[in-house]
């Protein structure tokens, strides 16, 4: 089973990399970019019988730091 784990910064956590990207887009002439936030995409290939609970624990224990980050799990059948 293929999974995509999308890790994003929580609202309210400053993202200096996102700000730098936003400014760089502005300097390239792309107006109207109100904000940019940088996250991570982690692709996992796990055994088909891996439980939702185990996947959630993988995210909580390692893949995301829940002090600053949120995560979302996408299964391959729901990934285009």
């Amino acid at each position: 089973m293929k999974l995509r784990i999308v890790v994003t910064l929580k609202n309210g956590v400053l993202d200096p990399q996102g700000k730098a990207i936003q400014h760089a887009l502005g300097s390239l002439g792309f107006d109207g970019v109100a904000d940019a936030r940088v996250g991570k995409l982690i692709e996992l290939d796990v055994a088909d019988d891996t439980s939702d609970e185990a996947i959630d624990q993988m995210c909580r224990k390692l893949l995301a730091n829940t002090v600053i980050e949120n995560y979302r799990v996408e299964r391959q059948d729901s990934v285009a």
Binding site: G12, V13, L14, P16, Q17, A20, K61, L62, L63, N65, V67, I68
Partner: protein, 221 residues
């Protein structure tokens, strides 16, 4: 006093802190490899050194925090063993949950390598008793991810409970409330981004860092 220094693949301040600890304790610390599952018996302090453990993959300190030896460190800290994390060691301690908050990319995205003036915010802990409260000391920083973050409620609690050990006396990396070092609630775990082990001899340009180790050894004697 017997001490131990944890060594990860990518640690690069392990030998510096070993030298500093040997100078103040008179005994070379035990160097403990990340794959070990136990800490040596009879130690009075374990240090988690600076560097780039596991290449900073995923997040700085994230992989190291899940290594076998850190499980032993977390357990020992729970029993009251003093734990000192410096730079990457601080990042690792936050990733284990021993310390609150997280260390994020510096606000200006640059790697900061310079002497940093620090204000001693709490001089009553076993780690900081070699200083006086409110005193300004100079200790170098060298990091890319030193921008301390915690939610406001946590920051208020840290300040209210005296868990802020050091603050930057100036803008260094964008840290919330200029926090450079924090203690856990029990006071036996300190994490700090500045490197006291790089200021222990006159030849280093000063000995402000040595006072941390001397105060600690006195407290633990």
């Amino acid at each position: 006093m017997k001490t131990a220094v944890v060594v990860f693949p990518g640690s690069n301040c392990d030998r510096d802190i070993a030298v500093a600890l040997e100078q103040v304790t008179g005994q070379a610390p035990a160097m403990v490899w990340h794959g070990d599952t136990d800490l040596p018996d009879g130690i009075g302090l374990v240090a988690v050194p600076g560097g780039f453990s596991y290449g900073d993959y995923l997040r700085s300190g994230a992989i190291a925090a899940r290594s076998p030896v850190m499980r032993a460190v977390v357990e020992a800290a729970g029993r009251g063993l003093p734990v000192l994390g410096i730079c990457n060691g601080f990042q690792i301690l936050t990733e284990t949950g021993l310390l609150p908050g997280a260390l994020m990319r510096n606000a200006r995205l640059n790697f900061v390598c310079r002497d940093a003036p620090l204000t001693v915010a709490n001089a009553t802990s076993r780690f900081t008793r070699g200083y006086s409260e409110g005193e300004t000391v100079t200790i170098p920083v060298a990091h890319h991810d030193g921008n301390y973050f915690a939610d406001d409620e946590t920051l208020d609690r840290l300040e209210g409970e005296g868990q802020v050990a050091f603050r930057y006396a100036g803008v260094i990396n964008g840290s919330a409330r200029d926090i450079a070092g924090v203690l856990n609630a029990q006071g036996n775990v300190l994490g700090m981004m500045p490197h006291p082990e790089r200021r222990v001899e006159a030849a280093h340009g000063g000995t402000d860092g040595r006072r941390l180790f001397e105060g600690l050894v006195e407290a633990l004697a």
